[in-house]
Protein backbone atom coordinates (compact mmCIF):
# COMPACT_ATOMS: atom_id res chain seq x y z
CA UNK A 1 0.00 0.00 0.00
CA UNK A 2 2.94 2.30 0.19
CA UNK A 3 4.36 4.36 -2.63
CA UNK A 4 8.06 4.90 -2.07
CA UNK A 5 8.99 8.50 -2.39
CA UNK A 6 10.77 8.09 -5.68
CA UNK A 7 10.38 10.74 -8.29
CA UNK A 8 8.68 10.21 -11.60
CA UNK A 9 11.83 11.51 -13.28
CA UNK A 10 14.11 9.71 -15.65
CA UNK A 11 17.19 9.10 -13.58
CA UNK A 12 20.65 8.26 -14.70
CA UNK A 13 22.84 7.93 -11.68
CA UNK A 14 26.49 8.79 -11.45
CA UNK A 15 29.60 6.72 -11.16
CA UNK A 16 28.48 3.20 -11.82
CA UNK A 17 29.81 -0.08 -10.64
CA UNK A 18 28.95 -3.17 -12.57
CA UNK A 19 30.05 -6.69 -13.13
CA UNK A 20 30.58 -6.70 -16.85
CA UNK A 21 29.68 -9.77 -18.82
CA UNK A 22 31.21 -10.10 -22.27
CA UNK A 23 28.64 -9.05 -24.83
CA UNK A 24 28.51 -10.42 -28.33
CA UNK A 25 27.31 -7.14 -29.90
CA UNK A 26 28.89 -3.96 -28.64
CA UNK A 27 25.76 -1.94 -29.29
CA UNK A 28 23.23 -4.18 -27.59
CA UNK A 29 20.94 -2.45 -25.12
CA UNK A 30 22.84 -3.36 -21.96
CA UNK A 31 26.13 -2.12 -23.36
CA UNK A 32 24.47 1.06 -24.56
CA UNK A 33 23.13 1.82 -21.10
CA UNK A 34 26.50 1.13 -19.54
CA UNK A 35 28.33 3.28 -22.07
CA UNK A 36 25.91 6.17 -21.76
CA UNK A 37 25.80 6.33 -17.98
CA UNK A 38 29.56 5.99 -17.81
CA UNK A 39 30.08 8.76 -20.35
CA UNK A 40 27.69 11.18 -18.72
CA UNK A 41 28.98 10.70 -15.23
CA UNK A 42 32.60 10.86 -16.20
CA UNK A 43 31.93 14.25 -17.72
CA UNK A 44 29.87 15.30 -14.74
CA UNK A 45 32.62 14.39 -12.34
CA UNK A 46 35.26 16.15 -14.38
CA UNK A 47 33.33 19.41 -14.63
CA UNK A 48 31.38 19.30 -11.42
CA UNK A 49 31.14 23.01 -10.71
CA UNK A 50 30.48 24.05 -14.26
CA UNK A 51 27.41 21.85 -14.53
CA UNK A 52 26.10 22.65 -11.09
CA UNK A 53 26.11 26.38 -11.81
CA UNK A 54 25.11 26.32 -15.47
CA UNK A 55 21.85 24.47 -16.16
CA UNK A 56 22.08 25.17 -19.88
CA UNK A 57 25.43 23.42 -20.09
CA UNK A 58 24.06 20.39 -18.29
CA UNK A 59 21.07 20.29 -20.59
CA UNK A 60 23.39 20.47 -23.59
CA UNK A 61 25.29 17.49 -22.19
CA UNK A 62 22.08 15.56 -21.74
CA UNK A 63 21.02 16.45 -25.26
CA UNK A 64 24.19 15.18 -26.88
CA UNK A 65 24.78 12.10 -24.75
CA UNK A 66 21.32 10.91 -23.83
CA UNK A 67 18.78 11.90 -26.43
CA UNK A 68 20.39 10.01 -29.31
CA UNK A 69 19.69 6.85 -27.32
CA UNK A 70 15.95 7.50 -27.40
CA UNK A 71 13.45 6.75 -30.11
CA UNK A 72 11.59 9.96 -29.45
CA UNK A 73 9.28 9.71 -32.42
CA UNK A 74 8.06 6.32 -31.30
CA UNK A 75 7.74 7.63 -27.75
CA UNK A 76 5.57 10.46 -29.08
CA UNK A 77 3.40 8.05 -31.06
CA UNK A 78 2.92 5.80 -28.02
CA UNK A 79 2.00 8.81 -25.89
CA UNK A 80 -0.49 10.17 -28.39
CA UNK A 81 -1.94 6.75 -29.03
CA UNK A 82 -4.84 6.69 -31.40
CA UNK A 83 -5.29 10.41 -30.88
CA UNK A 84 -2.14 10.80 -32.95
CA UNK A 85 -3.40 8.92 -35.97
CA UNK A 86 -5.23 11.68 -37.76
CA UNK A 87 -2.54 14.23 -37.07
CA UNK A 88 -0.08 15.49 -39.69
CA UNK A 89 3.47 14.32 -39.34
CA UNK A 90 4.79 17.86 -38.75
CA UNK A 91 2.62 18.19 -35.68
CA UNK A 92 3.64 14.81 -34.32
CA UNK A 93 7.24 15.88 -34.88
CA UNK A 94 6.58 19.18 -33.11
CA UNK A 95 5.10 17.26 -30.23
CA UNK A 96 8.07 14.89 -30.22
CA UNK A 97 10.41 17.86 -30.11
CA UNK A 98 8.66 19.27 -27.08
CA UNK A 99 8.91 15.88 -25.42
CA UNK A 100 12.65 15.95 -26.03
CA UNK A 101 12.89 19.36 -24.41
CA UNK A 102 10.87 18.27 -21.42
CA UNK A 103 12.91 15.10 -21.05
CA UNK A 104 16.15 17.06 -21.25
CA UNK A 105 15.02 19.41 -18.51
CA UNK A 106 13.86 16.57 -16.29
CA UNK A 107 16.98 14.48 -16.83
CA UNK A 108 19.16 17.44 -15.96
CA UNK A 109 17.31 18.11 -12.75
CA UNK A 110 17.44 14.45 -11.86
CA UNK A 111 21.14 14.22 -12.57
CA UNK A 112 21.90 17.11 -10.27
CA UNK A 113 20.35 15.24 -7.40
CA UNK A 114 22.30 12.08 -7.90
CA UNK A 115 25.87 13.19 -8.15
CA UNK A 116 28.20 11.90 -5.51
CA UNK A 117 28.89 8.44 -4.32
CA UNK A 118 25.77 6.79 -5.59
CA UNK A 119 26.03 3.77 -7.76
CA UNK A 120 24.11 2.35 -10.61
CA UNK A 121 24.23 -1.33 -11.35
CA UNK A 122 23.25 -2.45 -14.81
CA UNK A 123 22.08 -6.02 -14.66
CA UNK A 124 23.14 -8.47 -17.34
CA UNK A 125 20.83 -9.41 -20.16
CA UNK A 126 18.15 -11.90 -19.15
CA UNK A 127 17.24 -14.28 -21.92
CA UNK A 128 17.44 -13.59 -25.63
CA UNK A 129 17.44 -10.18 -27.24
CA UNK A 130 14.03 -9.41 -28.66
CA UNK A 131 14.13 -6.80 -31.39
CA UNK A 132 10.60 -5.66 -30.67
CA UNK A 133 11.05 -5.29 -26.94
CA UNK A 134 14.06 -5.81 -24.74
CA UNK A 135 14.27 -4.72 -21.16
CA UNK A 136 17.40 -3.43 -19.47
CA UNK A 137 17.26 -3.59 -15.71
CA UNK A 138 19.25 -1.30 -13.48
CA UNK A 139 19.47 -0.71 -9.76
CA UNK A 140 20.29 2.66 -8.38
CA UNK A 141 21.48 3.23 -4.84
CA UNK A 142 19.75 6.23 -3.42
CA UNK A 143 21.42 8.94 -1.37
CA UNK A 144 19.16 8.27 1.63
CA UNK A 145 19.70 4.54 1.53
CA UNK A 146 17.75 1.87 -0.22
CA UNK A 147 17.62 1.09 -3.86
CA UNK A 148 15.48 2.13 -6.79
CA UNK A 149 14.82 -0.16 -9.71
CA UNK A 150 14.87 1.55 -13.05
CA UNK A 151 14.17 -0.40 -16.22
CA UNK A 152 14.45 0.68 -19.84
CA UNK A 153 12.44 -0.65 -22.74
CA UNK A 154 14.45 -0.91 -25.94
CA UNK A 155 13.64 -1.89 -29.47
CA UNK A 156 15.72 -2.22 -32.58
CA UNK A 157 15.34 0.42 -35.23
CA UNK A 158 17.12 1.12 -38.50
CA UNK A 159 19.52 3.26 -36.45
CA UNK A 160 20.24 0.52 -33.95
CA UNK A 161 18.83 -0.09 -30.50
CA UNK A 162 16.81 2.76 -29.04
CA UNK A 163 15.02 3.19 -25.74
CA UNK A 164 11.42 4.27 -25.74
CA UNK A 165 10.29 3.91 -22.16
CA UNK A 166 11.69 4.25 -18.68
CA UNK A 167 10.05 2.41 -15.81
CA UNK A 168 10.87 3.66 -12.34
CA UNK A 169 9.76 1.37 -9.52
CA UNK A 170 7.17 -0.09 -11.82
CA UNK A 171 5.91 3.28 -13.01
CA UNK A 172 6.16 3.63 -16.77
CA UNK A 173 6.84 7.09 -18.12
CA UNK A 174 4.95 6.33 -21.34
CA UNK A 175 1.90 4.80 -19.64
CA UNK A 176 1.55 7.68 -17.23
CA UNK A 177 2.23 10.49 -19.65
CA UNK A 178 -0.09 8.91 -22.18
CA UNK A 179 -3.10 9.00 -19.86
CA UNK A 180 -2.54 12.70 -19.40
CA UNK A 181 -1.84 13.65 -23.00
CA UNK A 182 -4.39 11.54 -24.87
CA UNK A 183 -7.53 12.92 -23.24
CA UNK A 184 -6.12 16.41 -23.48
CA UNK A 185 -5.49 16.04 -27.22
CA UNK A 186 -8.90 14.48 -27.75
CA UNK A 187 -10.62 17.26 -25.85
CA UNK A 188 -8.55 20.26 -26.94
CA UNK A 189 -6.67 19.29 -30.07
CA UNK A 190 -2.96 18.83 -30.63
CA UNK A 191 -2.27 22.52 -31.29
CA UNK A 192 -3.60 23.55 -27.91
CA UNK A 193 -1.60 20.84 -26.17
CA UNK A 194 1.60 21.79 -27.98
CA UNK A 195 1.09 25.46 -27.18
CA UNK A 196 0.47 24.80 -23.50
CA UNK A 197 3.39 22.42 -23.23
CA UNK A 198 5.62 25.07 -24.78
CA UNK A 199 4.48 27.61 -22.22
CA UNK A 200 4.97 25.12 -19.42
CA UNK A 201 8.36 24.37 -20.84
CA UNK A 202 9.47 27.94 -20.44
CA UNK A 203 8.44 27.86 -16.81
CA UNK A 204 10.28 24.63 -16.16
CA UNK A 205 13.58 26.06 -17.31
CA UNK A 206 13.68 28.47 -14.38
Amino acid sequence: MKIPAKKLLLMFSCVFSISLFAQAEVDDPVSLVIKTTSSIFTKLDQNNEKYASDPAALQALVRTDLIPLLDVHYLARLTLGRAGRGIEKEKVDAFAEIMINLLVIRYSKGLLQFRGNEQVMVLPQRGELNEKLTRVRTRVKLPRGGEARIDYAFHKTADGWKAFDVIVEGISYVATYRNQIMPDVQANGIDSVIARLREGELELVH
Binding site: I3, R82, A83, R149, G170, T176, Q180, G200
Partner: protein, 251 residues
Protein backbone atom coordinates in the same frame (compact mmCIF):
# COMPACT_ATOMS: atom_id res chain seq x y z
CA UNK B 1 -14.19 8.82 20.40
CA UNK B 2 -14.44 5.10 19.90
CA UNK B 3 -18.22 5.19 19.77
CA UNK B 4 -18.47 8.13 17.41
CA UNK B 5 -16.34 6.68 14.65
CA UNK B 6 -18.94 4.42 13.01
CA UNK B 7 -21.34 7.35 12.90
CA UNK B 8 -18.75 9.59 11.31
CA UNK B 9 -18.01 7.01 8.68
CA UNK B 10 -21.71 6.46 7.97
CA UNK B 11 -22.33 10.18 7.53
CA UNK B 12 -19.28 10.50 5.32
CA UNK B 13 -20.30 7.66 3.08
CA UNK B 14 -23.86 8.86 2.74
CA UNK B 15 -22.61 12.29 1.75
CA UNK B 16 -20.33 10.83 -0.86
CA UNK B 17 -22.91 8.46 -2.24
CA UNK B 18 -25.58 11.12 -2.50
CA UNK B 19 -23.18 13.44 -4.24
CA UNK B 20 -22.59 10.67 -6.71
CA UNK B 21 -26.06 10.81 -8.20
CA UNK B 22 -26.13 12.90 -11.34
CA UNK B 23 -23.06 15.03 -11.81
CA UNK B 24 -20.03 13.83 -13.71
CA UNK B 25 -19.97 10.45 -15.38
CA UNK B 26 -16.40 10.10 -16.43
CA UNK B 27 -15.11 6.68 -17.29
CA UNK B 28 -11.46 6.97 -18.14
CA UNK B 29 -10.66 3.36 -17.29
CA UNK B 30 -13.77 1.19 -17.10
CA UNK B 31 -11.74 -1.97 -16.70
CA UNK B 32 -9.69 -0.97 -13.65
CA UNK B 33 -11.82 1.84 -12.27
CA UNK B 34 -15.53 1.13 -12.69
CA UNK B 35 -16.23 3.14 -9.57
CA UNK B 36 -14.55 6.23 -10.92
CA UNK B 37 -17.40 8.56 -10.10
CA UNK B 38 -17.34 7.58 -6.46
CA UNK B 39 -13.56 7.52 -6.33
CA UNK B 40 -13.33 11.04 -7.70
CA UNK B 41 -15.62 12.29 -4.95
CA UNK B 42 -13.45 10.68 -2.31
CA UNK B 43 -10.39 12.15 -4.03
CA UNK B 44 -11.96 15.58 -3.82
CA UNK B 45 -12.68 14.99 -0.15
CA UNK B 46 -9.11 13.91 0.50
CA UNK B 47 -7.94 17.00 -1.34
CA UNK B 48 -9.91 19.16 1.06
CA UNK B 49 -8.49 17.21 3.97
CA UNK B 50 -5.03 17.79 2.57
CA UNK B 51 -5.46 21.51 3.06
CA UNK B 52 -5.18 20.77 6.75
CA UNK B 53 -2.71 17.90 6.57
CA UNK B 54 -0.22 19.40 4.16
CA UNK B 55 0.76 22.40 6.29
CA UNK B 56 1.33 20.08 9.23
CA UNK B 57 3.52 17.82 7.12
CA UNK B 58 5.37 20.84 5.73
CA UNK B 59 5.95 22.15 9.23
CA UNK B 60 7.19 18.77 10.35
CA UNK B 61 9.51 18.56 7.37
CA UNK B 62 10.91 22.04 7.82
CA UNK B 63 11.28 22.07 11.59
CA UNK B 64 12.38 18.57 12.47
CA UNK B 65 16.00 17.75 11.64
CA UNK B 66 16.56 15.14 8.96
CA UNK B 67 18.03 12.50 11.27
CA UNK B 68 14.94 12.74 13.43
CA UNK B 69 12.67 12.36 10.42
CA UNK B 70 14.67 9.37 9.29
CA UNK B 71 14.31 7.91 12.77
CA UNK B 72 10.56 8.34 12.68
CA UNK B 73 10.43 6.73 9.25
CA UNK B 74 12.51 3.83 10.52
CA UNK B 75 10.31 3.48 13.57
CA UNK B 76 7.12 3.10 11.53
CA UNK B 77 8.74 0.91 8.93
CA UNK B 78 9.92 -1.39 11.70
CA UNK B 79 6.37 -1.68 12.98
CA UNK B 80 5.33 -3.05 9.61
CA UNK B 81 7.58 -6.06 10.10
CA UNK B 82 5.05 -8.33 11.85
CA UNK B 83 2.56 -7.91 9.02
CA UNK B 84 5.27 -8.52 6.44
CA UNK B 85 6.43 -11.60 8.35
CA UNK B 86 2.98 -13.16 8.54
CA UNK B 87 2.33 -12.56 4.88
CA UNK B 88 5.67 -13.93 3.83
CA UNK B 89 4.74 -17.13 5.66
CA UNK B 90 1.38 -17.16 3.91
CA UNK B 91 3.16 -16.80 0.58
CA UNK B 92 5.60 -19.56 1.38
CA UNK B 93 8.65 -17.31 1.58
CA UNK B 94 10.32 -18.96 4.54
CA UNK B 95 13.87 -17.69 3.98
CA UNK B 96 12.75 -14.13 3.47
CA UNK B 97 10.53 -14.25 6.52
CA UNK B 98 13.60 -15.13 8.56
CA UNK B 99 15.22 -11.92 7.29
CA UNK B 100 12.18 -9.93 8.32
CA UNK B 101 12.14 -11.53 11.74
CA UNK B 102 15.82 -10.80 12.17
CA UNK B 103 15.34 -7.19 11.11
CA UNK B 104 12.54 -6.70 13.57
CA UNK B 105 14.50 -8.20 16.42
CA UNK B 106 17.68 -6.28 15.76
CA UNK B 107 16.04 -2.94 15.03
CA UNK B 108 13.67 -3.14 17.96
CA UNK B 109 16.42 -3.91 20.44
CA UNK B 110 19.78 -2.60 19.26
CA UNK B 111 18.02 -0.12 17.01
CA UNK B 112 16.17 1.34 20.00
CA UNK B 113 12.54 0.56 19.23
CA UNK B 114 13.23 0.82 15.53
CA UNK B 115 14.56 4.37 15.36
CA UNK B 116 17.85 3.12 14.03
CA UNK B 117 17.86 0.80 11.07
CA UNK B 118 20.76 -1.28 12.23
CA UNK B 119 19.60 -4.28 10.21
CA UNK B 120 20.14 -2.49 6.89
CA UNK B 121 23.66 -1.55 7.94
CA UNK B 122 24.24 -5.22 8.59
CA UNK B 123 23.06 -5.96 5.08
CA UNK B 124 19.83 -7.78 5.95
CA UNK B 125 17.46 -7.27 3.02
CA UNK B 126 14.23 -5.38 3.49
CA UNK B 127 10.96 -6.81 2.22
CA UNK B 128 7.49 -5.42 2.07
CA UNK B 129 4.47 -7.71 2.08
CA UNK B 130 0.89 -7.32 3.16
CA UNK B 131 -2.36 -9.21 2.90
CA UNK B 132 -3.34 -7.41 -0.30
CA UNK B 133 -0.20 -8.70 -1.99
CA UNK B 134 -0.81 -12.15 -0.56
CA UNK B 135 -4.36 -12.23 -1.90
CA UNK B 136 -3.07 -11.13 -5.29
CA UNK B 137 -0.55 -13.95 -5.32
CA UNK B 138 -3.25 -16.39 -4.27
CA UNK B 139 -5.31 -15.49 -7.30
CA UNK B 140 -7.18 -12.29 -6.53
CA UNK B 141 -5.10 -10.62 -9.19
CA UNK B 142 -7.33 -7.92 -10.63
CA UNK B 143 -9.15 -5.64 -8.28
CA UNK B 144 -10.98 -2.42 -8.91
CA UNK B 145 -9.46 0.88 -7.86
CA UNK B 146 -10.91 2.21 -4.65
CA UNK B 147 -10.04 5.59 -3.19
CA UNK B 148 -10.31 5.49 0.59
CA UNK B 149 -11.06 8.52 2.71
CA UNK B 150 -7.95 9.48 4.72
CA UNK B 151 -5.94 6.52 3.52
CA UNK B 152 -5.90 7.43 -0.13
CA UNK B 153 -5.56 5.12 -3.14
CA UNK B 154 -6.26 1.44 -2.76
CA UNK B 155 -8.14 -1.36 -4.42
CA UNK B 156 -11.04 -3.40 -3.12
CA UNK B 157 -8.72 -6.31 -2.45
CA UNK B 158 -6.08 -4.13 -0.80
CA UNK B 159 -8.63 -2.41 1.39
CA UNK B 160 -9.75 -5.78 2.68
CA UNK B 161 -6.08 -6.58 3.24
CA UNK B 162 -5.41 -3.31 5.02
CA UNK B 163 -8.36 -3.78 7.35
CA UNK B 164 -7.45 -7.35 8.18
CA UNK B 165 -3.77 -6.54 8.63
CA UNK B 166 -4.70 -3.85 11.14
CA UNK B 167 -5.69 -6.60 13.58
CA UNK B 168 -2.09 -7.71 13.90
CA UNK B 169 -0.27 -4.50 13.16
CA UNK B 170 1.17 -2.89 16.32
CA UNK B 171 -0.39 0.47 15.45
CA UNK B 172 -3.75 -1.16 14.70
CA UNK B 173 -3.65 -3.14 17.92
CA UNK B 174 -2.76 -0.07 19.94
CA UNK B 175 -5.54 1.95 18.35
CA UNK B 176 -8.14 -0.69 19.07
CA UNK B 177 -7.07 -1.35 22.63
CA UNK B 178 -6.37 2.21 23.73
CA UNK B 179 -8.87 4.01 21.57
CA UNK B 180 -6.11 6.48 20.74
CA UNK B 181 -5.60 7.59 17.17
CA UNK B 182 -2.41 9.57 17.56
CA UNK B 183 -0.08 6.82 16.26
CA UNK B 184 -2.16 6.62 13.08
CA UNK B 185 -2.06 10.38 12.74
CA UNK B 186 1.67 10.51 13.41
CA UNK B 187 2.22 7.86 10.79
CA UNK B 188 0.01 9.80 8.40
CA UNK B 189 2.12 12.93 8.84
CA UNK B 190 5.29 10.92 8.28
CA UNK B 191 3.87 9.48 5.06
CA UNK B 192 2.55 12.82 3.87
CA UNK B 193 5.92 14.43 4.39
CA UNK B 194 7.47 11.85 2.09
CA UNK B 195 5.30 12.93 -0.82
CA UNK B 196 5.76 16.69 -0.47
CA UNK B 197 8.21 16.64 -3.37
CA UNK B 198 5.61 15.13 -5.66
CA UNK B 199 2.97 17.76 -4.94
CA UNK B 200 3.98 20.06 -7.78
CA UNK B 201 3.94 17.21 -10.26
CA UNK B 202 0.41 16.26 -9.27
CA UNK B 203 -0.87 19.82 -9.33
CA UNK B 204 0.45 20.51 -12.80
CA UNK B 205 -1.04 17.39 -14.30
CA UNK B 206 -3.92 17.59 -16.74
CA UNK B 207 -5.86 15.11 -14.62
CA UNK B 208 -4.32 14.65 -11.16
CA UNK B 209 -6.83 11.97 -10.22
CA UNK B 210 -5.76 9.82 -13.18
CA UNK B 211 -2.09 10.49 -12.54
CA UNK B 212 -2.36 9.35 -8.93
CA UNK B 213 -4.32 6.29 -9.99
CA UNK B 214 -1.80 5.35 -12.68
CA UNK B 215 1.19 5.82 -10.43
CA UNK B 216 -0.38 3.94 -7.54
CA UNK B 217 -1.69 0.99 -9.56
CA UNK B 218 1.56 0.53 -11.44
CA UNK B 219 3.61 0.69 -8.28
CA UNK B 220 1.25 -1.75 -6.59
CA UNK B 221 1.79 -4.22 -9.40
CA UNK B 222 5.51 -3.71 -8.90
CA UNK B 223 5.12 -4.60 -5.21
CA UNK B 224 3.01 -7.65 -5.97
CA UNK B 225 5.58 -8.92 -8.44
CA UNK B 226 8.37 -8.17 -5.95
CA UNK B 227 10.06 -5.63 -8.17
CA UNK B 228 9.74 -7.44 -11.49
CA UNK B 229 6.38 -6.59 -13.02
CA UNK B 230 5.59 -7.46 -16.63
CA UNK B 231 6.08 -4.75 -19.23
CA UNK B 232 3.09 -3.04 -20.78
CA UNK B 233 1.74 -4.17 -24.12
CA UNK B 234 3.07 -1.27 -26.15
CA UNK B 235 1.35 -2.38 -29.33
CA UNK B 236 -1.91 -1.82 -27.54
CA UNK B 237 -0.90 1.77 -26.94
CA UNK B 238 -0.84 2.48 -30.62
CA UNK B 239 -4.13 0.76 -31.34
CA UNK B 240 -6.17 1.51 -28.25
CA UNK B 241 -8.78 4.17 -28.13
CA UNK B 242 -10.09 5.93 -25.05
CA UNK B 243 -13.74 5.40 -24.14
CA UNK B 244 -15.98 8.24 -25.28
CA UNK B 245 -15.61 11.22 -22.94
CA UNK B 246 -18.69 12.20 -20.98
CA UNK B 247 -20.68 9.12 -21.87
CA UNK B 248 -23.83 8.92 -19.81
CA UNK B 249 -23.68 5.47 -18.44
CA UNK B 250 -25.12 6.34 -15.04
CA UNK B 251 -23.69 5.44 -11.65
Amino acid sequence: MRNRLPIIIAVLLSLLLSACAGTQNRHTDPENDPWEGFNRKVYAFNDELDKVVRPVALGYDKIMPDPFQRGVGNFFRNLDAPVTFINQILQGKAAQSADTFGRFLINSTIGLLGFFDVASRLGIPFYNEDLGQTLAKWGYADSRYLMLPFFGPSTLRDSIGLYTDSYYHPVGIYTREQGQWWPVVARGIDQRARFLDQDAELEQAYDPYVLLRDVWLQNRLYQIYDGDPPLADYDLYLEEDLPEPDSDRGE
